[in-house]
Each structure stands twice: as structure tokens, then as C-alpha cells.
Symmetry: C2
Subunit: 226 residues, 2 copies
DNA sequence: ACGCTATTCCATGGAACTATGGAATAGCGC
DNA sequence: GCGCTATTCCATAGTTCCATGGAATAGCGT
């Protein structure tokens, strides 16, 4: 195999990363294994289109699939794929004004007063001391497939109706799928409006996976058990 | 900016990585700043085609350009771009049989008996002890733009005529542009045929750049000064 | 075997990418 | 300003990619 062919082969991995929809699919798959139909629905894709994208990702070696009865479940080929995504996102954010502006826009413009963005180290430290309630606002399926140890699951679309599960004096730190996931933005907004002290965790599960942060798959506990 | 737009924006970075020729250009740029014409020539591209690729890379934020009189010089936007490349190459090598086979083919089939592939840690340790002569086999321009401290420059196409510069009892460790650069393979072949003990350094300058290994830009010294 | 569900295969139209030749532009030296 | 070099812009043909609807396939339950 010649040098040109080898680089052309590497480029196939690049091609797999060359579509916004495929990146969305990869971010979803970083949350855990899922059937085609769910992926299509969540990503807002036609079923056939989603299937085609997933096969392309599989041919590129970024995801693997297995059959479970009548369904086909896809998952990331490994944590290094999450690492690849995060590195690519970081490069884009550092070197492209439009992207860093959009990211800064998410982090400042959309953030209510009093909400801080806390990084991973601060999260773990304050969580360990019991100073914050760690809130996972992703859909339940994703929480079940893997989440931070000790995190409480309240999907962001159920949060309004489940505020009772959070002690009124609690300080909350919300995380979701990844750095650019908006679920946690919605959550801190709602929490702040309701008088809670809420913070946004900068990273999400995609980054945790990329950096080998330990996740657990135990059953969801509601806020009241904490 | 919506989530879809943001991911579409990240995908532009992916698109930039979706062509073998562009990856070759990036690897060349990881060796140092270069004018368009040289890049076109070395990559085997038409001038206009090369210019188009470079502009696309610039729009994606992976490279930057500056004017120097009548020339335009391109360089990587930062070391994180080299990191992105190495992460992508590693993912491809891990998860795609064709690629790992090709890489293994380079490392075993093409390697003469007695030649070992040595990793970075071993290289630095044995170099520090003066046990190996570190040989940079890239073209002189690339050596001049940045190389391992203490490395001797003999471009692989000049090596046959410059063997006298290498002491006959020297043990040589050759490196070049990156993990998949073939210059060092040619070099260890030639050296082994000539009775030298030669080893291949697994990584090249692309990886050194990605991992913040210190490089120097001092003038080339020939083997005889070592 | 039959019906049912989930997914993949196939064909198609439209959009985007690649390579290239020729024209246009920027900057240097005289 | 003029010629010269290096690069970019423009137009074009060929190729590949994206989304989609309809047909075909795999597997489960009866």
C-alpha cells in the first residue's frame, strides 16, 4: 500500500467526520448503545438516511453494530472515538471565530446571572464534599447506559414537574451529553428561575468518555433518595 | 446558532480532513512553514489544486498563511492540529483492519532483519547516554525548520553518498516526518545493507509536535561533528 | 408458514467536491 | 510603469455525496 493510498485511507475517517448529522449521531452514540430507529428519531433523520450514515460510520471503523433479535444496535467502536471528537471540537473552537463565538454565546448570553460554568475538577471536588447535587439532565435511557457516580437523573423535559425531588436549599450542578449540549442550559435556566442556585458543568459524557472518567450504570435514583 | 448549525460547523473541520491530499499537505506543514509552490510540488499536485486545498484548510482554521513578498507561506494553525491528525490516524489504525495491516506491513515486511522499531522514550534515553546517533532523514528545509536537539541531518536521498559522515561503529536511529513516513524506512534499509546497526524511530516530527516535544531550529550539523 | 417489525438494499435527483486550464491580481526589481 | 514571478480567481467537466421513497431481507411470535 502506497503512501497516497494510506493517506486516502485515513481520509475515510475524516470523511466520516465531515457531516454534521454524523457528528450528532456520534455524540448520541457516546451516550450509549442504541437502535437505528431511536437514533434516526433523536437526530431528526429519515430512517434510511440514518441507516446509511451509520453504515458509513461503521465502514470507517468509528462505530460497531450488533444484532439483538429484530433490532440492530450501534455503539462507538471505543472511547478513542470520543477522544477524536473532543479533540476535533476543541481545534475548531480554538481556531475558528464563528465556532468560538457560538460557544461563548452558549456560555454567556444564554446563561442567567449567578450561574457559573464549573470545570470537571471543581465538580468532582465539590461533589465529593457534598456541597453540590450533581444532576444528569439527559433522557433516562442515556442515564441508564452510563452516568457519573452519584448523579441524580431528572431529564430536562421532566424537570419542571419534578422540582420537588430537589431540596430547596440545594446547590445544583447540571451536566448533559457534551460541551455543546443545550439540555443543561435549559435546566440551569429553569432552576435559576425557581430560586435554586445552579451551575453548569462545562463537560459532558462525551468528554468523560474521552478522558476515561469512570461511569456507572446503576439504576436511576431520584433526587429524594440523595 | 442552533445545535445543528454548530455541528455543521464542526463538520467543516471534518471535511478538511476528508481528503488524502489534504492530509499529506498537513503532514508537510507539520514539518514547518512552506510556500504554495513547494507544497504543490512535494505533494504531487497541480498548483491551482494545491492552492484550493490550502484555502479550504485555511477556511477550516487548520492552517494560517502570511505573505512574504511575492510568496504566500502556509503553516499549521497550531500544535493542536498535529494532535488532531495523530489522534485520527491512531483511531483509524486501531479500528480499521486495512489500515493496521498497512501499518504492520510497513513495520515488519519492509524492515530488514536486525532492525528494531524503538519508541520515543527509548530513543531519548539511549540518545542521552550517547548510545545512538539520532539521524533526521528529512529534506534539509524541513530539518532547518525544526528538529530533535542533537539530531544529525542527512536527507534520505543523499544518504548513499554521505555515509562517510557516520562512524562505522555507530548505532543509528532514524526518524522522519511521522509514523507513516517512508523516508526512514529507506534509510534503515540502506544503512543495514552497508553494515550499520540501524533502528527505526516509531514517531516522527508530526507526533513530536502533537505532544509538545521540544524541537530546535539551529543550523544543520553534519555527522562528522558529532 | 404467515404476519409483523426493524433494518438494509436499490435507484434517483440534486447538491457539493476535485482537478484543471486560462485569466486576473499582488508584489518585487529594474 | 513594465516585465516577471507567485498565487488566487473563474469556469467547467467528472466524480462523489446526501436524502428519500419503494422494494427486499432478517428475525420474532403465533
Amino acid at each position: 500500500m502506497s503512501k497516497a493510498e494510506l493517506f486516502e485511507s485515513f481520509a475515510r475517517t475524516g470523511k466520516a467526520l465531515a457531516s454534521g448529522k454524523r457528528l450528532e449521531l456520534l455524540e448520541l452514540l457516546a451516550q450509549g448503545e442504541r437502535p437505528v430507529q431511536q437514533l434516526a428519531a433523536v437526530a431528526g433523520l429519515n430512517l434510511t438516511t440514518a441507516s446509511a450514515h451509520l453504515q458509513l460510520l461503521r465502514d470507517a471503523g468509528l462505530v460497531v453494530s450488533r444484532r439483538d433479535g429484530t433490532r440492530v444496535l450501534y455503539r462507538l467502536a471505543g472511547p478513542d472515538v470520543a477522544e477524536l471528537m473532543t479533540v476535533m471540537f476543541r481545534v475548531a473552537e480554538r481556531h475558528r471565530p464563528e465556532v468560538s463565538a457560538a460557544a461563548a454565546g452558549l456560555a454567556s448570553q444564554l446563561l442567567p446571572d449567578g450561574v457559573r460554568v464549573i470545570d470537571r475538577a471543581e465538580l468532582f471536588e465539590r461533589s465529593r464534599r457534598g456541597e453540590v447535587l450533581v444532576l444528569d439532565v439527559r433522557p433516562s435511557v442515556e442515564y441508564a447506559a452510563g452516568h457519573l457516580p452519584g448523579a441524580v437523573s431528572i431529564p430536562s423535559d421532566e424537570l419542571a414537574g419534578r422540582l420537588a425531588e430537589i431540596p430547596a436549599d440545594a446547590e445544583v450542578a447540571a451536566y448533559c451529553r457534551g460541551r455543546y449540549c443545550v439540555l443543561s442550559y435549559d435546566a440551569v435556566h429553569l432552576l435559576t428561575d425557581q430560586g435554586y442556585t445552579a451551575h453548569l458543568v462545562a463537560d459532558g459524557v462525551t468528554e468523560f468518555l474521552a478522558d476515561d472518567v469512570a461511569l456507572t450504570t446503576d439504576r436511576a435514583r431520584t433526587g429524594s433518595t440523595s
